[in-house]
């Protein structure tokens, strides 16, 4: 058990005032000359580290340690609809191989569905050691209870140390359900993953709603779960030969019942998506009005590019939600991206910093976008872009 303890005797009015100001969450209050910590406390321990000495104390009791050696391997959930494997799966297998190599673990894939045995062969081209298949009629469509039950079976049987899940609509529904069943941690939308020697998974993602990255660990629980978005990791080369083996698994099908009946499945119309674009022109709050989006569209057309935008523009209704790049939008990996009037908040850059070439136009030389750009253009988009459009028109 860990707690914050206030040494009320050692504190004077000046120090109380200092602490109240210090707390970034407004969790420290003064009540009748005493310090009170309210429910806004995030246990960041800033008051302990930076506050007046000896006033705030953080006490931690021994946490029961688990035997990590009982849990082995890095597993990847095979994301699919009707056996059509989502490419994020191969990207995660690539990452799983890297992580597993550090601690000499096998790499597993777990494939849950119906009539999928032949589709599983494909996974062996990517260097998975073993594919576990749960193939039952009840698992034909994605329904949360039977899929969770199959994952529970897998985890109990194989005891993987780490389980990686693609942050698709399916993965974002399934991973938390599985994590809660095992009362273990789950970190959403990791952008960097690493493995410690002691098999703790290092999970890094933008956090606290600010321009900050957080490194998160799950040291006292197994399995460790993380979701990763499509196009964040790199897929390994597909090998011509197959390696590894396929293990069909049995289970008690009584646990596969569901309160959900799937009535109809329709394919969405495929539209040109920014995720697949080779060239992107992205626009942010640097544009002053909705009509100026036309200028950006013209530039995009001349470059054969797709237009994308930051979240504030989506919220203002100036662009369609499908065009949002970033943590709560889409991840893009184009050959070229030109950002126009974008500040470069980490929630935005998390969705585009894997692009081959990044050009940023921003009039503020201190803008964070210049930290990720290859070509940083310090200038006014209203001056640079019209000239650029003229130049490109002359070329045509």
């Amino acid at each position: 058990m860990s707690r914050l303890i206030v040494n009320q005797e050692a504190v004077n009015a000046l120090q109380i005032n200092e602490l109240v100001k210090l707390c970034p969450f407004g969790a420290i209050e003064e009540k009748g000359g005493k310090i009170e910590v309210n429910a806004a406390c995030k246990m960041c321990k800033l008051c302990v580290k930076k506050g007046p000495a000896g006033v705030m104390k953080f006490v931690e009791d021994e946490v029961p340690t688990i035997d990590k050696s009982l849990w082995k391997g890095v597993a990847v959930y095979v994301d699919h609809v009707d056996g059509d494997i989502h490419p994020v799966t191969f990207e995660l297998i690539g990452k799983a191989k890297e992580l597993a190599a550090k601690v000499n673990y096998p790499v597993y894939a777990v494939f849950v569905g119906h009539n999928i045995a032949d589709k599983a062969q494909e996974l062996l081209h990517y260097g998975v050691d073993e594919v576990f298949i749960y193939d039952f009629a009840e698992l034909k469509d994605f329904r949360i209870e039977p899929y969770t039950a199959a994952m529970e079976e897998f985890i109990k049987k194989v005891k993987p140390s780490t389980l990686l899940v693609g942050a698709t609509t399916i993965g974002r529904s399934l991973a938390p359900r599985v994590a809660a069943r095992f009362k273990t941690g789950l970190t959403a939308d990791c952008t960097i993953l690493d493995m410690k020697d002691n098999t703790d998974l290092v999970q890094i993602r933008p956090a606290f709603g600010g321009n900050i990255m957080a490194q998160i660990i799950n040291p006292d629980h197994r399995p460790q779960l993380a979701t990763v978005r499509y196009k964040i990791m790199n897929a390994p080369e597909r090998l011509p030969e197959r390696k590894g083996k396929i293990t069909p698994c049995s289970m008690n099908t009584d646990t596969l019942h569901s309160a959900i009946t799937v009535l109809q499945v329709t394919k969405k119309e495929v539209e040109a998506s920014i995720s697949d674009a080779e060239v992107i022109v992205a626009v942010g709050r640097g544009i002053k009005s909705e009509k100026d989006v036309a200028m950006i569209k013209e530039l995009a057309e001349l470059l054969g590019a797709q237009v994308a935008a930051t979240r504030p523009l989506i919220e203002a209704g100036w662009a369609d939600a499908k065009r949002q790049i970033g943590l709560s939008g889409r991840t893009v990996k184009p050959k070229l991206i030109i950002t126009c009037g974008i500040s470069g908040a980490v929630q935005f850059t998390a969705g585009m910093n894997q692009a081959d070439r990044i050009v940023a136009i921003n009039q503020d030389p201190r803008a964070a976008i210049f930290n990720v750009a290859h070509y940083g253009i310090v200038g006014d988009i209203y001056e640079v872009i019209p000239h650029l459009i003229n130049n490109l028109k002359e070329k045509h």
């Binding site: 969770t148 529904s173 359900r177 969405k268 060239v279 070439r357 136009i361 990720v372 070509y375 200038g379």
Partner: protein
């Protein structure tokens, strides 16, 4: 239908920065508001109530100030609200948050439908809803884009999937997380603001719950730990160009030619 909506109070802006030297969080006294995605969940609940009758309750976990978002829900048409607030909940990660909310729900008696927003703008995990459903042993469907039909003891909904849209029937009690734009949220009404200003907000703390083991809440009930925070990486292989607009445009044109994009 007895409907419960989960709403969270979030900071108005993302004005949080980390001091690169000290590694300390700098958070200005920013204003708070209801998580915008939760407005869609609340609107969905109100529409269902308008169609088939019942009540709409809201639940929130947070500091005492979070009572504001419950008042906001009253102004939109919610009938009752509960705030889960206790210092012992501090430092909760997704698992502890979902567990605390599930304990709160269990205190509330009969609920047919729980609605959550798709995600929060500060935590941004989209995980609290599904984890809560697991703790309450309810089926759930995430990313609901449409409520097609409300039956006596079930709902027919459309859910958004990678490349597919699925129509499914789900038995109550159940939990749904709804997509942005499912319905346009109504504005809080001034009339409601006046008529609900003295309404009660039930407050629950740890000792109101069935499970009073402190180890299951807050920091202690959170398996994930933030090991460190740091500013994002800086790309060192870069060029910075300054000058007049025309110059910059010309330079960029040549660069785009050199890289064979024109």
């Amino acid at each position: 239908m007895e409907i419960l909506v989960c709403v969270k109070q979030v900071p108005e802006t993302s004005k949080v920065e980390v001091d690169p030297v000290t590694g300390v969080l700098k958070r200005d006294g920013v204003d708070s508001k209801m998580n915008p995605y939760d407005l869609y969940a609340l609107e969905t609940a109100l529409r269902i109530k308008e169609e088939v009758g019942g009540t709409v309750k809201v639940i929130s976990m947070g500091p005492p100030q979070a009572a504001e978002v419950i008042k906001e829900a009253y102004m939109m048409g919610a009938d009752a609200g509960v705030l889960l607030s206790d210092r012992k909940f501090a430092g909760s990660d997704v698992l502890a948050t979902a567990y605390t909310l599930s304990q709160g729900v269990r205190k509330m008696g009969n609920i047919d439908l729980i609605l959550c927003g798709k995600q929060t703008t500060d935590g941004d995990t989209a995980q609290v809803g599904p984890e809560m459903a697991e703790y309450l042993a309810m089926p759930h469907i995430a990313n609901v884009i449409k409520i097609e039909k409300i039956k006596d003891a079930s709902l027919i909904v459309e859910m958004d999937m990678p490349h597919m849209v699925e129509v499914a029937e789900i038995q109550c009690p159940c939990l749904l997380t709804v997509e942005k734009d499912i319905y346009q949220p109504r504005l809080p009404s001034y009339k409601k603001k006046l008529s609900t200003k003295d309404w009660d907000i039930s407050m629950f703390s740890l000792h109101d719950f069935a499970d009073q083991n402190e180890k299951n809440y807050g920091l202690n009930g959170s398996p994930t730990q933030v090991e460190r925070i740091f500013p994002p990486a800086v790309n060192i292989d870069k060029e910075i160009w300054t000058g007049a607009g025309v110059e910059l445009a010309d330079k960029l044109t040549s660069k785009l030619k050199e890289l064979k994009f024109v």
